[in-house]
């Protein structure tokens, strides 16, 4: 009896170790998610102005559209390999710091998501439900704050995706993601970003710092 069990178990291991037992999965970015990445040539370099008329430039320094491999295993034997598509852009601003956006195709059981990295903050939201997934604040003073959908901590921000968003006399027709920290948790610096708006149409359109200084897309 013991021999039969051992034989069956060995056969099972042999079966799942064969390539045929591995489930391969490729998850592409849905058009809705990929639309958060603005790919027009004119977007590679753009300017914003603060409310006092002082202009600053954003330049695309990194861009990558690739597949990230991940997998699962049973008893150290791979059972599933997932290739999920990602799209990443990073912009440099010598005065305010770097800004990056990453669109991730997600998994078969997890919705795709989009993440923004601004000076002093990192934020991720579900690209289907538009609900926040994660927030991380890390001002340049050694302090930090993190929140995720799995934590029982009150979310210190408001996030929504709207259409027909108007700012500084301009109306943006496409979907616009609006992020605003409601409770600044007392750790942020005057130059930390506390509010921003990102349009599917042209990208970053509005930034507000904790000091109250506002920047608008030109």
């Amino acid at each position: 009896m013991k021999f039969i069990k051992l034989f069956l178990f060995a056969s099972f291991l042999l079966l799942i170790s064969c390539n045929g037992a591995i489930v391969y999965e490729e998850i592409d970015l849905q058009a809705e998610t990929e639309a958060w990445i603005v790919q027009e040539e004119s977007y590679r370099s753009f300017q914003m102005t603060d409310e006092n008329g002082i202009k600053n430039s954003w330049n695309l320094t990194e861009e990558d559209n690739y597949y990230s491999e991940s997998g699962s295993a049973f008893l150290l034997i791979p059972t599933r390999k997932t290739m999920r598509e990602m799209y990443y852009q990073k912009f440099r601003n010598t005065i305010l710091g770097d800004f990056s956006i990453n669109a991730d195709a997600g998994f078969s059981d997890v919705n795709p998501w989009v993440s923004f990295n601004m000076p002093d903050l990192s934020f991720e939201f579900d690209a289907v439900t538009h609900k926040p997934n994660r927030l991380y604040l890390s001002p340049n003073n050694g302090k930090s704050f993190s929140w995720s959908e799995y934590e029982d901590v009150e979310l210190p921000l408001e996030f929504q995706v709207v259409t027909n968003f108007e700012v500084n006399g301009k109306t943006y027709q496409e979907e616009v993601a609006i992020f605003e920290l409601t409770d600044q948790i007392g750790i942020l610096e005057p130059k930390s970003v506390v509010k921003f708006a990102f349009s599917k149409d042209v990208g970053l359109i509005f930034i507000e710092l904790k000091s109250g200084l506002k920047y608008f897309r030109i």
């Binding site: 006092n52 710092l209 200084l213």
Partner: protein
């Protein structure tokens, strides 16, 4: 064959091990005596630049004076040199501004100012303007510096810096035409 390999290994270890019993100071580069006259700011000095839109941007300067050590990687000899760093800080979002001045051989010194990603170096015998009018004030012996930085990765943002040794930063001209002038 074994003896050959072992000898080679021992020799290699011998060559790689530093043999300095003591380090020798071979030179100590100092600033010329009049150096203070060439550094326009004291520690915690304040000044203001005015953007062409009229916005005033206040700055504060922090100085850090050190004596640094130099030398080659596997040498026992080393030298020291006087070094001055000036950090020009503003609460208003602006380019990082930093002065780096260090002493070299025979009274020569390197004098550079970085603004954001641009670097402006002051060379000996550099031409200067006798008198320049900036924001309704006349300044003398003014250097009109162009950025020494070059990169294909980004567009130049700061085009020129007007500077003199007595007042310091007089004017910054951006590539987009914006200007910042001394108050």
């Amino acid at each position: 064959m074994k003896i050959l390999i072992i000898s080679f290994l021992i020799a290699s270890v011998g060559f790689c091990t530093p043999k300095c019993d003591e380090s020798n100071l071979i030179d100590a580069y100092a600033f010329p005596e009049n150096m203070e006259e060439l550094i326009p700011y004291e520690n915690q000095d304040k000044f203001t630049l005015i953007h062409n839109s009229g916005t005033e941007i206040p700055f504060e300067v922090f100085r850090n004076s050190t004596i640094e050590t130099g030398g080659c990687d596997h040498c026992c000899d080393y030298y020291t040199y006087e070094n001055e760093e000036l950090f020009v800080i503003s609460d208003y979002p602006f380019y990082d501004i930093q002065f780096n001045i260090n002493a070299g051989e025979e009274g020569i010194f390197n004098y550079g100012i970085s603004i954001g990603r641009e670097y402006f170096s002051l060379e000996e015998n550099m031409q200067m303007s006798d008198s320049v009018k900036i924001n309704d004030q006349y300044f003398h012996e003014v250097f009109k510096l162009k950025s020494n930085s070059y990169s294909e990765e980004y567009e130049r943002e700061v085009d020129s810096l007007y500077f003199n040794y007595s007042t310091g930063i007089l004017k910054i001209i951006q590539q987009n035409g914006d200007t910042y002038e001394i108050h």
